[in-house]
Amino acid sequence: MSLLCIESAAEYCGRELTWGNLMRQWTRREDERLLTGGGRYVADMAVPGCLDAVFVRSEVAHGVLREVDCAAAREVAGVAGAWSAADVPDLPDTPYTLMARLATEEAVAGREWPVLVKDRVRYPGEAVAVVVGEDRYRAEDGAAEVVVRIDPLPAVVTPSAAAEDSVRLFDDLSNIAFEGETGEPIEDAVWRDAAAVVEARYRQQLLMPTPMECRTILALPEGDRLTVWSGHQAPHRLRAELAAVLGWPVDRVRVIVPDTGGAFGSKSAIFPEYVAVAYLALKLRRPVRWIEDRMESMLTATRGRGQDQRVRLAADADGHLLAYELAIDADVGAYPHLAGAMPLQTARMATGVYRTPRVHATVRSVLTNTMVTYPYRGAGRPEATIALERTMDALARRLRLDPAELRRRNFVAPESFPYRTPTGRVYDSGDYAAALELALETLDYAGWRTEQSRRRHDPAALPLGIGLSCYVERSGGEAGVLHEYGSVEAHEDGTIVARCGSASSGQGHETTFPAFVARELGVDQRRVRLVEGDTDEVPDGVGSFASRSAQVAGAALRQACGMLIEEARVRAAELWELPVAEVVWSDGTVSPRTGGTAAMDLGELVKATGPLQAENRYESGMGFPFGTHAAVAEVDPELGTVHVLRLVAVDDCGVVLNPMLVKGQAFGSAVQGLGQALYEGIPFDDDGLPRLAHGLLDYLVPTAAEIPPITLKETYTPTPNTPLGAKGAGESGCIGTPAAIVNAVADALRLTDADVLQMPLTPDVVWRAANLREAG
């Protein structure tokens, strides 16, 4: 076990980390480059002769395509070509996700996703033509000349409405593209006989992942190969999917991921635009790139969340949970190709942290006239946590129980692990009560309750509420993507190259993994160089998503280090004609146990015995990180504004490789959780068009000025499912924070009807809720 990292994790346990402290301690290998303009993103690649692709996009949400005429565009100076679907009959369709059952063959059957619209527009911004030019300016000038005629059809933008099938996206098929369930249906008697049953409806609004860098791809044909640069989370997956689209063996495609400006889930797939760029590069025998801009991204990048939920929760008079039912109508957007089955994740995690004996969750994945939904930081787990935790607070109010006490009475106990949930998960380990108690203590829960009751007797004081949210999530991935590639190679000059199948989109792998490998081998970390994000350099890989890199790739590298050490001992034993047991490994050197011959460094050993590499494919179990987030919020009932006064996040992600990076992830994800709770949402007009004319002025993400005081703490429960004991970190805030904030607002307003507070809690929503309180 790598003692160093555990010591440093323990050192950080219990230390209060404020933003200021975090900044002072925050040093990553890549930051000097990234923060001083030295980053090299796809848009920075200077490839001679490269053409810029621009897509002509539908300005209606749903409609019949009558005409696309690119003739005038082709006459524009600097335009190298312009095509509609009719112009390129051999342009392949967008493939569906083969990975991890995110999409299913049944769901996509009969539903083709063309790269360019052939006859029917199904989401606003869907591409109807593509123009390439010497640069983006000229390509846009060309795109402006493309004539498009679309006869609009009625649009549906919520899953509940679309499920009625009164407007169909595919004429002969229902909008319901996928159905699934977890657990067993619950008999009526259970609800009838329960002392308390609360019911509620929640809207998990559609969100935009909003990475700083939008999507990027550059394709360069060379000989019989295609080299592709893309800001991407899963280069090997992109290679496989591009090769399949082109009908090529995978080794003819090389995918390179340079610096990537964030992803949050939105960059792990293949998209229509990527197919078009690869196709055109080969057709024109020229490099072609597509650099998505912000306005384009806001229309056509994947969205997250998007669920209409109905819940029922039953308890006995003492507050012991009896049954929980969650019915989900999930928005999967216009095509089920990327993640039609992803909402099942919510159903699987519906049980949460409680030992509820009966849990039943159903999913209908419904097509709507919006861009496709896809994993966004949290990916199905926030929706499960928010539904359950909001309902727990509603139940506590019903039973007149303290919400912390209600939770204590129902946690899965630490001795119950591994715990098989009614919804089909096997939780590895946990101490849910410990996380709750640490959160309460850190927040000064009792102190805030006192302040709350003082304010309730002071008519001039603003109402104040406290919200709790206890979560358990799943990290590592689903069956089929729980493995990762890792190798370490020692060179004659003493350097060590670590290769890993993951790909950083900003998480700091360059800092984490070399330091980790150096610790495992006992060498200076400056000797270790990380190679990832290049399919020619790394033979195999899965990628960076599902909070899996430390958990899975870390374990793969750790095992590879162990294999390298063993091989080094075997070689030294041969060299010295000793039994292997007589060779000792220490701090990057081999030496004979009994002395005599001098110790030999790895580099010298390679010189003496030839190339030395250990390759490993590690298969992980799932990890189930957990924690409790707690918020204190004050409400101005006249204006409906919410001031989050305190936010405490207690997370348990097991063994931590780099505490500072984990803290950074926890902080960032908590801010995104705050975004879902209070700010982010896509308003639609009556024609189903997003009202986002001013870009990020219309879709508000929290900025530095909105960030409340956040205190991060951790408990420490290593997962027994991996040799490293690390569980996923980095999605916790998106999962745990939203319900804590919404519950705090509901508590401030003492709302009995949970339905009136639907996210985002914009001031108008909160003002209306506050009025209901006064009326009641």
């Binding site: 983006r136 000038d141 402006a144 204006l639 002025l697 219309d698």
Partner: protein, 289 residues
């Protein structure tokens, strides 16, 4: 998105600028700070044939104080007013209360007060203040110089009384006398976003009585609004007495709010009423007792 092609002129004097602007028949736009123009051009909502960049025109960056007024030239940037001492007296205080609400520092370093008046965004802070204080806009066109009182300036959203070929030279604001307390408050969803409602108040107070109230409203109609009805409720009344009522009058009579996402008409009226009352209190607290 990228800007479409356009012609560009960079005159060095006001007469030169006016001559270039008189390019009849073409869509000509003046570039000062570029705060709104460049964004609109990037989004292709504006695609002018000719952009006249006045940043090199001498003399337009002057801020002159005399005869009880402050005259702000067309190139005076927003961030000049971050300091309450940029302009003497309560006017300086009011401008400094409002300035931090405009976008954020990099934009405030480029954008201009006169540019805001020319663009006439209904949510503009400066437009609301100009309405409250009866500012006067000075223009020069082919026929010479003319002045337009601001109450005749705003004709609709992004629409003003500017005639084709005219260049805004400056705006003149009255320095407020020492009996005046000022207030400025905005309600918005994040620090980054446009105001859902903004309120500017100048309250002249003598012996505890409101002598003259001036209230300008941002984003409370399709154009900047002067809350005359609310002012009438206040004038001659004891300080603090009619603030809540004035807020309701402003919301019901002076404002004509439009629905937008996250703020329907009912909610906006509520915010206007609350914010006007609060801004009046802020101004009263700053008035000499």
């Amino acid at each position: 998105m990228k800007l479409a092609a356009f012609d560009y002129a960079a005159p060095r004097t006001v007469p030169e600028a006016v001559a270039v602007l008189a390019d009849g028949g073409r869509d000509v736009r003046v570039l000062a700070g570029g705060q709104s123009l460049l964004l609109e051009m990037r989004l292709h909502r504006l695609s002018p044939d000719l952009v006249v960049d006045i940043n090199g025109v001498g003399g337009l960056d002057r801020l002159d104080v005399n005869d009880g007024t402050a005259e702000v030239g067309a190139l005076v940037r927003h961030d000049v007013f971050d300091s309450p001492r940029a302009v003497p007296g309560p006017l300086g205080t009011l401008l400094a209360l409002a300035a931090p609400n405009i976008a954020h520092p990099p934009i405030r370093a480029r954008g201009t007060m006169v540019g805001s008046l020319a663009w006439a965004h209904p949510a503009s802070e400066w437009c609301a203040i100009a309405m409250a204080l009866d500012a006067v806009i000075r223009l020069r066109g082919p026929e010479g110089v003319r002045e337009v009182p601001v109450r005749d300036w705003f004709l609709g959203p992004f629409t003003t009384a500017r005639r084709p070929g005219e260049l805004l030279l400056s705006v003149r604001l009255p320095l407020l006398d020492a009996h005046t307390g000022v207030g400025f408050l905005e309600h918005r969803r994040t620090h980054f976003s446009f105001a859902q409602v903004g309120v500017a108040v100048a309250l002249a107070v003598r012996d505890g009585v409101v002598e003259e109230a001036r209230i300008g409203l941002a984003n409370c109609a399709d154009r900047p609004v002067r809350a005359y009805a609310a002012e009438r409720e206040l004038n001659g009344t004891e300080v603090g007495h009619s603030f809540v009522r004035a807020g309701r009058v402003a919301a019901e009579q002076d404002a004509a709010p439009l629905a937008e996402p996250y703020a329907d008409v009912e909610y906006r009226r509520q915010v206007i009423a609350v914010l006007v009352a609060r801004t009046l209190r802020q101004a009263a607290e700053g008035a000499p007792q």
